[in-house]
Amino acid sequence: MKYNYKRITLLSGHYGSGKTNIAVNMAFDLKKNFHNVTIADLDIVNPYFRTKDSQTELEQSGIKLICSEYANSNVDIPALPQEMYSVIDDKSQRAVIDIGGDDRGALALGRYSKGIIEENDYDMLFVINCYRPLTCDVQTTLEVMREIENAGRIKFTGIVNNSNLGEETTADDILDSLDYASDISKATRLPIVATCVKEELFDVLSERISNLFALKLQKKII
């Protein structure tokens, strides 16, 4: 993706907006240009779908994974990984941080936001999907956004349009979402840094949408 990654890229949004999948894809994208890449799972809300699901692929690519040692286990408690501070302190690495859904998920970020803001080499990206019923219009999406900013004690710097209908997504579904994304961009005065599509749609849409980001789906479909 043609995107000038800051040292830390934070991904947040409504739960189910696709943060984890984008975070994993961005880590692979970063690895193409940087040696020392870390992905950190700061999700304290969802015990089911986690960055850890992609552990094998990440480790094979030499990407460091930081996540709660309880992720994907039956220990249903909101534990934070102790190594998390190394992402803030060790400035030799590039990092992607996957934050849990909604304001409740972003609460965990508040623990670290001071250090991130002081260093001032980060992007805080808001992941949106107009096909999710609780963020289907501009107003409700902006409400979710404000709640996350308040809970995470950090402001968004950009928007990632990840509007999709899962496996059924068509090129038209993506094109139909552009107005929604642009309205949110105007209302917040934040740039749309990427529009995400599944790999199959990339060629069809690459000439019509700038900053298109092809996503490999990390999750197993049953």
Binding site: Y48, D76, Y131, R132, P133, N164, I222
Partner: protein
């Protein structure tokens, strides 16, 4: 814009309930169904409904009893250990002939068990939710679309037969995301002349109660209830048959296990094995007809379950033990892989699973 939305199974249940006219939800958080409550908490205040986080599952089911007595559509949801706590209330709802919808997004057990998916509450849902002679209509969705469809259907059936309907899902169904269409035509709610809505001094007062002072009256109410159950068994069975026409081996599974089984069946068909699927959609009433029909031509039935073998007992009864019925299962939060099911199919083709 597409007429579909991308939803988690849990969200689809919540939104479908609202579309079906449910304006009262009572619950208590438990993984992996918490998104139902979270969704209701966001939506209900915006549409003049009631979302209430009760102090326990027991409190929540008794709040359901209260609203159901007034004839309004009402719902609660939980996961396995929480459903056990609701047991007493489920029996009282049955005894008072009250319609309600209860969602169980199952997790591994017994005891506190784990938070990963399971189907080990089949016995509880279909046979023994609590004390006394009673049944619940049990609906088993196997896609996010069906999570929504069965929620709407559950409300309709509950009202029609004055009883509890349960949507029996599992953690994977609750958490997975798929596109859904929520374009339902909801009919006018049926008359509920028994509801306790105030007499306005214009009619005799209604009583909602499960206590009978005379045993012969209690017996009469049980007989009447079971007459209704008989009608349901005759009219409301739902199931799907997949590639059963020429099948020599029959796989049977519901919910998430049916999805895995379909993948395995598709692979087995590629390898030339004639295998099909019977997927019960209602677990009570259990659809007996397709099984007895299958015994005429299949040599083995494989029951794929996320339990130690619960539905298999109904499969044996329905097939009258005319062919061997074997179990292919994982438990404790684990899901059978398509490869595991495929191996069971191959064994059946070679001469039979032990």
């Amino acid at each position: 814009m597409s007429d579909k939305v991308l939803m988690k199974g849990n969200e689809a249940i919540a939104e479908a309930a609202i579309i079906a006219g449910c304006r009262h939800y009572f619950g208590y958080p438990i993984t992996p169904q918490t998104e139902i409550a979270a969704y209701m908490a966001k939506r209900m205040p915006k549409i003049g409904g009631t979302f209430l986080q009760a102090e326990s599952e027991i409190a929540a089911i008794n709040m359901v009893y209260g609203v159901a007595s007034t004839g309004k559509r009402v719902m609660t949801s939980s996961s396995s250990p929480g459903i056990s706590l609701k047991g007493e209330g489920l029996s009282y709802l049955a005894g008072a002939d009250l319609p309600s919808l209860v969602i169980n997004v199952q997790r591994g057990g017994p005891g506190l068990g784990g938070i990963q998916p399971s189907q080990s509450d089949y016995f509880q849902a279909t046979k023994g939710a609590a004390h006394g002679d009673f049944r619940m209509i049990v609906l088993a969705p196997s896609s996010v679309q069906e999570m929504a469809d069965m929620t709407v259907k559950g409300f309709e059936l509950a009202d029609k037969y004055r009883m509890t309907a349960m949507v029996l899902a599992d953690g994977t169904m609750g958490q997975m995301m798929e596109p859904v269409s929520l374009d339902y035509k909801i009919g006018e709610p049926i008359e509920k002349p028994w509801a306790t809505t105030g007499t306005k001094m214009e009619r005799p007062h209604n009583i909602v109660n499960s206590l009978f002072l005379e045993p012969d009256e209690l017996e009469k109410s049980n007989f009447a209830r079971y007459d209704r159950y008989k009608t349901i068994e005759e009219n409301e069975c739902m199931y799907e048959e997949y590639m059963m026409d020429d099948a020599e081996i029959c796989v049977t599974a519901f919910g998430i296990a049916a999805r895995v089984s379909k993948n395995a069946i598709n692979e087995a068909r590629k390898q030339g094995i004639k295998v099909g699927l019977i997927r019960p959609i209602t677990l009570w009433p259990f659809p007996k007809a397709p099984y007895i029909k299958a015994t005429e031509k299949v040599k083995e039935i494989i029951s794929v379950e996320l339990s130690m073998g619960q539905m298999i007992e109904d499969v044996r009864l329905a097939s009258e033990c005319k062919v061997p019925v074997s179990l292919c299962n994982r438990v404790g939060g684990m899901i059978p892989s398509p490869e595991q099911v495929l191996d069971a199919i191959k064994n059946a083709a070679k001469g039979g699973n032990k």
